[in-house]
Symmetry: C2
Subunit: 417 residues, 2 copies
């Protein structure tokens, strides 16, 4: 493949930076992060001006209001980005952690965490991802190539310039943080194939973006995202818990990957449970798309089509199905789930254990909302995304997901016999 | 992509088996492994007969003698395969291991090792890989689809039939071990694209096989193999250690990925070191392909071409270069290495530490042979391959590399606020 010469330059600069960053100390990286936090506050006016251009362009293009809102920055928003950088300072640095052992022949083997190298982030609207991703990559010793959406280009340009400048002023290697200022399709397609320059690609955004990257990239990808999450309300559920958890998981923030998309209800409790839940949903404006039995119990439910089962609504819509028991529920999840987050509501110990053991997903819950699948809520302090793949990282990814291992082996004239 | 219906059947059967294997207990899996070990011994004659067909076909096709040797089984070889199965019984089962913590809100999070699901192994000549791979996958709770080379098909058919039968007789799920009996190209190409059926593909074999799989697979791959390994003999090296380690790493088993392919010699010691090493190599029949300076010192060395630097000779050939110091050595390794195994011979503490920290490879050594990069020699007990990628697993892969994590979360009516 022929790469744009500018891209090769960016890739080579990132590689050179990564080679130096790999052995930068935690104290030096933290100093840079604090300078970046400070620099954001010092450049507030410039950032707001640039962001205004993006927002105006979006409005002129007739962009949906919710998207314009995701794009828009305020003084408060800049302060939050700056605070987020300071929080990254407080996170433990995984680089240099590890364990060691000594072999019978005296060879000492040290398994050490090291950075991945060059991380490319491909993301959409929200400019704060520029700052978050750069901070997490820097803290974990990786050079980063940021490729944000064209709709946020002016904001991303000034943000990356300000933070990269601050990091470099504190001795971090040149080009440790780079933004692809050219947001055309060709460049991003080439970026996904730059094996030898880029060690991993992390797409963050809608299902379409992620699918494209997974399909087209030859560089290893950490897939984030799509969550078709289910709640199974068992025949032995505490129905009050069922209502509160299902309602919370669906409505607390419907546009995110750990929000609930479908509820499966044991037939033994359907007659009692569905009206309790249904009325709460109806009052809140949640559309229910139910199976035949659900619709028979809830006259205001719409009839679910086949495509309603495997879908991520990301909206105030929920699919609902009456099932015979935990086996049918687990079969349904196996067929339609995306292995993200699944929860069971039950008071039965053995049924709970079966669900935990037998459902294959990044996170499996008993009597808790799927919305907990989150780096912050799991206690990792920060999150680079939620992996829905099984290799390398699964579930909420903290700094450790941005590292690999290296074996350092100390010999004294050791040979193999 | 349209898949052969037989392949879909195999994939679906593997998925069904994996779902059950995921929560099979260690004791049950060990019982199956012991039965497999026993069954191999009980079917010795049948196995030897089938293997004879493969060997005769290979000889008739004019196959190289070294390849025929790799293919041929003996009674002793079958006993070794059986013993290897018993050793897998003694390995710790990573499934179900993990740690847990409790969040301030009382939510208990249990990070648990679980199997990957369905593992596809694509490999070449040696029939013992059929048994090894099946055993390691079974022990780690994965269903396996084996695709060995056509040259070993008769041996692989009987071996997989015997061990799968023994495993199933002990209650392991049907189709936990399957062999692709059809070894045509179309099937293997389709297998690499069976996302949704296959969770990971592990190619084991020559560089050509691995490259094809990495390029064509859409299923996640764990890349194994290619090693262009270097030894840097520093200006402050103990030259006797240098000779013994470089000689060992090159000649102890030249056809494997952790064998040495190039030696870099500090100019301060080249005049003294190269003749010591060179004569030992000359006596042993190792061809030296040297840079100009090397050839000036060793008149019997051949002149290295540019392509001699990044190459895996896998033979009694070594590239040799005189360098100014550790920086030039590390630059050379950065440019030509494959991030597998690299070693420095030095008595200088600081130079050793710089090499360990700054060289990016799965295993980095001081005063030891690169031949130690091996699951057995690292103390992992068994090895499914040596990963040369950075994601998921790096270096020698034990059973843990065949697992992923799952978060089991225990709530008591927990919702997100």
């Amino acid at each position: 493949m022929d790469f744009a010469p500018e891209l090769i330059t960016i890739g080579q600069k990132a590689k050179d930076a990564a080679r130096k960053l790999a052995y930068a100390g935690t104290a030096a990286k933290n100093k840079a992060l604090l300078a970046m936090a400070e620099a954001l506050l010092n450049h507030e006016q410039k950032i707001l001006e640039a962001n205004r251009k993006d927002v105006e362009a979006a409005i002129q293009k007739g962009t949906k209001k919710s998207l314009v809102n995701r794009l828009a920055l305020t003084s408060e928003g800049i302060r939050q980005m700056s605070d987020a950088l300071k929080e990254v300072v407080n996170l433990g640095d995984p680089v240099g952690e590890g364990e060691f052992w000594t072999r019978p022949n005296g060879l000492r083997i040290q398994r050490t965490r090291v950075p991945l190298g060059v991380v490319a982030m491909i993301y959409e609207a929200r400019p704060n991802v520029t700052v978050d991703a750069a901070a997490l990559c820097l803290k974990s010793g990786n050079a980063v190539i940021l490729r944000g959406g064209s709709e946020a280009i002016e904001s991303n340009k000034i943000l990356s310039k300000v933070i990269a400048g601050a990091a470099e002023s504190q001795g971090m290697p040149t080009a440790c943080i780079q933004l692809l200022e050219n947001t055309n399709r060709q460049w991003v397609q080439q970026l996904m194939k730059m094996n030898g320059y880029v060690d991993v690609i992390i797409p963050r955004g809608g299902a379409g973006l992620i699918e494209t990257v997974v399909k087209e990239a030859t560089v290893p990808v950490i897939e984030t995202g799509t969550g078709v999450c289910h709640a199974y309300v068992d025949g032995e559920a505490d129905l009050a818990k069922g209502v509160s958890i299902v309602f919370n998981a669906k409505t607390q923030k419907p546009g995110v990957c750990n929000a609930l998309e479908a509820v499966l209800v044991n037939e033994a409790v359907a007659q009692e449970f569905l009206p309790l839940l249904g009325e709460k949903f109806r009052d809140y404006g949640v559309e229910i798309r139910g199976c035949e039995k659900t619709c028979a119990i809830l006259p205001y439910a719409a009839k679910a089509k086949e495509e309603d089962w495997g879908i991520e609504h990301l909206d105030l819509i929920i699919s609902a199905k009456v099932v015979q028991g935990v086996d049918e529920a687990m079969d349904h999840i196996y067929q339609y789930g995306t292995k993200h987050s699944e929860t069971i509501i039950t008071e039965n110990y053995t049924t709970a254990q079966r669900f935990l053991n037998e459902v294959d997903a990044a996170a499996v819950y008993v009597n808790a909302s799927t919305r907990f699948t989150d780096g912050g809520r799991f206690g990792f302090g920060a999150e680079i995304g939620i992996s829905t793949q099984k290799l390398h990282a699964r579930g909420p990814m903290g700094l450790q997901a941005l590292t690999t291992m290296k074996y350092m082996v100390y010999g004294e004239d050791h040979i193999v016999t």
